[in-house]
Symmetry: C2
Subunit: 184 residues, 2 copies
C-alpha cells in the first residue's frame, strides 16, 4: 500500500528553550482527516553512535551520567555531528574524546530515528575498527568510564537495568549481524 | 566504578507546549564540576511497544505516518500507557486498536530509554502471543497498514529505509533472542 503523505497546511514554533524547539504542524491526511501534531525539531546534522572494536570480539561501551533518566547509563559512545562536519569524522572525534581511541577504519551501518511520531532526530550508527590510542579533550563534566563488552554476549547486556537505551541496543545487534554476515 | 550521582541544585520548567515540557537542571558532579542540563519531561506512565505474534515465526508490524520524520514508518505498534492503566492492559488495548487483535498471553520483556541524556521517557517491550481477532476504535487519523514479517529475517528489515526506529529494531532483536532462549 502506497499512500500520499499528509499535506502540511501550517507549521509554527510553539515553544523554544536553549536546546529544544517544538513545532506545531496542521496536517490533512489523504482521506480528508485534519489534525494537529507537535514535534521536536532536531539539530539538522544529526548524531552518531559508535561501536568501537579493539578486536573482533569486543566493543567499548561507556558508562556516564544521563540527566534525562537521572542515573548512570551503559551504552555506545554518542555525540552530535557539528555543523559542516563529516559523519565519519564526527564519529572518530567522539571516540577520541570519550574513550581515548581513534580508528583507521570507519563504516556507516545505517541510521536510527528515536520517536519518529514526534522527533525528526537521526542517529547514524558507525562501526570503528583498527583502533589506535589518541585522546582529545571533550566537554564531559567528569571522566567517562569505559567498559569493554563481548559482542557475543548481548543477552546479559540488555538484561542489565543500566543498559536501557534503544539506540545502543539496536546498534549492537546490528553490528553483530554485520560481523556475522562479513565472516560468511 | 560506582560514583555518587550528581547533586541536583535546581529544577525549573523553561518551556512548555501542549505535549512537551522542558526542564532545566543545575547539577554538581562528585568532582565538583557544576553544569546546566535541559531535559524533556515525559508522561509519567511511559509507553508500550508490542511484538504481536500470530504464530512463532511471524510478528505483525505496522506502517503509519510519522510527523517527526514526515514519512511513513514501519515498526512495532506503540502507544502511551493511560493514567492508572496496567502496562500489559495498555499493550493489549493498543494491539486491538492498531492491528485488530487481542492476546491471551502477554509478557513484559524489559524497558527502553530513548535518549537518556535528555529524555526521561520509558517504553516497555511486550511480547503478545495466542492472539484472537478483536478490534476497538483508536484515535488514528487513517487506517493503519499491518505488515506481517518473519522474526528470522531482521537483517533485510533493518536495511529498509522506512524501518528506522531504534525502539522497534531493539525490540525485535530482543524478542528473537527471547524466543531462541525459550526453545533451548
Amino acid at each position: 500500500m502506497r499512500r500520499a503523505k499528509p499535506a502540511v497546511h501550517q507549521r509554527r514554533t510553539v515553544a523554544r528553550s536553549r536546546l529544544f524547539e517544538v513545532e506545531e504542524m496542521h496536517l490533512e491526511f489523504s482521506n480528508g482527516v485534519r489534525t494537529r501534531f507537535e514535534r521536536l525539531v532536531g539539530s539538522s546534522g544529526g548524531a552518531v553512535a559508535i561501536a568501537a572494536m579493539p578486536d573482533p570480539d569486543t566493543v567499548l561501551l561507556i558508562r556516564e551520567y544521563a540527566a534525562g533518566t537521572d542515573r548512570y547509563e551503559l551504552g555506545l559512545p554518542k555525540g552530535r555531528i557539528e555543523p559542516g562536519e563529516d559523519m565519519l569524522a564526527a564519529a572518530n572525534r567522539e571516540i577520541m574524546e570519550e574513550i581515548g581511541y581513534g580508528a583507521r577504519r570507519l563504516a556507516h551501518l545505517g541510521g536510527f530515528s528515536l520517536a519518529p511520531a514526534y522527533m525528526a532526530h537521526t542517529t547514524h550508527l558507525v562501526l570503528a575498527e583498527d583502533l589506535y590510542e589518541e585522546r582529545i579533550p571533550g566537554d564531559e563534566p567528569e571522566e567517562i568510564e569505559v567498559v569493554p563488552w563481548s559482542i557475543h554476549d548481548l543477552g546479559s547486556l540488555v538484561a542489565r537495568e543500566d543498559c536501557s537505551e534503544a539506540r545502543s541496543i539496536a546498534g549492537l545487534f546490528i553490528v553483530r549481524e554485520h560481523l556475522l554476515q562479513r565472516r560468511r
